[in-house]
Subunit: 337 residues, 2 copies
């Protein structure tokens, strides 16, 4: 089977809305908590914050916190607050990532650093990190604080590692797996874990949620790296080919580099090392990846992680929330953005 | 009295060493704690961390923590650990500040971002912030955590405010005072406060230390802003005139701008707005500031803060540590770097 231009989609953009219908109220509380956290004596912080947070992200990570908390019996507004902190940690890393990548587009809108400069992205990112810490400290749950602080270190380490590996043609599958675990999957894991901690369930249940989150996060990043080559810019909200343009070796490329003929390898090497990549070169690289099933096998690995994510939920009896988590797993593999 | 080329110095570079002689052991423990915190699964973090931390800073902020802790009866290694966290928060803000300012020189050495790019400065700065949080969470003193998290927000807000005020000729004395309080003085305040919290003394004593730190921090930044125009680059470890080159309106300039004749005002305005400033223009601005006692009056304000800092220590009986804090106050006003 030839790998189709974009991975097969069974759900449209409204799919997420449908899945989350049963937790609508909680999501409203989440939005309130998120925008409440933007209070600052410098009104400009809110301007930048609203720019990046409005009409924007899918809020997958805080949704995980809220659904996991609800599934494990937690009631009350604190889940929305902790969820908001999770989203703030994620947003902070996006803001800092934009500085790093010189990204011009984020979530379909002009990135904060393109609008206001690197200064603002770094500092408002710092504000997001510290505001999240501040709220978590006020809440006083040391275990949640510890999980999220450890996770922030991992995210940062993953991003440093990725930066160091930029344009490094020796980057192998293991490097890649470790990098995406650190930079992406651990925050998904932490988001689920803190939900379970809020719920106050036993360690084995927290562990189950934690495993679910880890596998979901792995699949999420794998699909992201496929979409970077294949998604429609309008839907994905990011330009196509950013990873290649930044010399970032993601799994589709790593797999194909190992399988390609010498002249094809040369094309990939040129693309990874080149300062600028025109549409023709990008197209050629994409063809080579397709030829060697780079997208297909990456998607295959994502599918495995999704299966493991769902399996991790086995210890829990059936519930509305368990259904949401399973549907979210399917959504992650089928998403177009 | 004409204001001399550099503020009068009564102490040399060894002064600090002399003052701190009685807490040598504690300072060794501090260094150990600082470099211990650099442990990461990414060895490159240590490389960057050591670059910025070695042969570098004066460690004034963690010294305050350690001396305040000792003065209030705290014994044990935890003061060094908390001090290391304070230094990490400060270093993180330096790393992020270097990205912002495009600084080429920091503490007399090439800045991290000039060596490894903005990527690394942002991410290693993030690592410093999160490692400090992680250790503080492990230590489990919620009050210390809260003081330092609140302070990090203030620092960030101060830096955002300063960025927004860049090249703004309407920046007035009040703006400036509020900015330096947020971006600098609050961390000095927090450093002293957490020392007192470690010591477990009553709120009135913690408040006294907190006041001492705040005034010391104000004086420190005021002197820094004088040194930026006057210090020898070799001694100061930073290029002369960075503030003016960045369009940063500090008190010496703000005071002189209010007092200068129209043609002199024009010179200052040109310098603040110009993309590049040659030595001649810089020299002219400095002359104007001198003529209108900009440095003298800024130093006068710093001297007032130092007096208030010392006065804040009145509630404490005489001790070796109280003597150190008083000497540190004198050092801050007389320092050449």
């Amino acid at each position: 089977m030839e790998f189709s231009k974009t991975p097969q989609r069974s759900q449209n953009q409204d799919a997420l809305k449908g899945i989350l219908f049963p937790v609508q109220q909680e999501l409203l509380a989440l939005e309130e908590a998120i925008f409440g956290l933007l209070d600052s004596q410098i009104p400009f912080v809110r301007t930048v914050g609203e720019h990046i947070l409005k009409n924007g992200g899918k809020r997958i990570r805080p949704i995980l916190t809220i659904v996991c908390a609800k599934m494990t019996g937690f009631q009350g507004n604190r889940a929305a607050q902790v969820g908001a902190c999770v989203e703030f940690l994620h947003t902070a890393s996006l803001l800092h990532d934009d500085v790093i990548d010189n990204a011009k587009v984020r979530r379909g809108k002009t990135s904060a650093n393109a609008l206001w400069g690197n200064h603002v992205s770094v500092l408002v990112g710092d504000f997001f990190y510290s505001r999240a810490s501040q709220l978590l400290i006020e809440q006083g749950n040391t275990r949640i604080l510890k999980v999220l602080a450890d996770c922030t270190i991992a995210t940062t380490e993953g991003e440093i590692w990725e930066t160091l590996k930029s344009s490094d043609l020796d980057t192998n599958r293991d490097d890649y797996i470790n990098i995406i675990k650190l930079k992406t999957a651990f925050l998904f894991q932490a988001a689920c874990q803190v939900g379970g901690i809020l719920g106050g369930v036993s360690d084995c249940f927290v562990k189950a949620l934690s495993d679910y989150g880890l596998h979901l996060g792995m699949a999420f990043q794998l699909v992201d790296d496929i979409l970077d080559y294949n998604a429609s810019e309008d839907v994905f909200g990011k330009s196509q080919g950013i990873d290649l343009r930044e010399g970032k070796l993601t799994l589709p490329l790593i797999l194909s580099l190992g399988r390609a003929a010498p002249d094809e390898k040369q094309v990939i090497k040129n693309a990874v090392l080149a300062d600028k990549i025109d549409q023709e070169l990008f197209e050629r690289v994409r063809q080579i990846i397709r030829k060697y099933h780079g997208f297909e096998d990456t998607l295959g690995l994502a599918v495995e992680h999704i299966a493991q994510a769902k399996q991790s939920l086995d210890p829990f009896r059936e519930s509305l929330e368990k259904g949401i988590l399973a549907s979210l797993a399917d959504y992650v593999i089928n998403r177009e953005r």
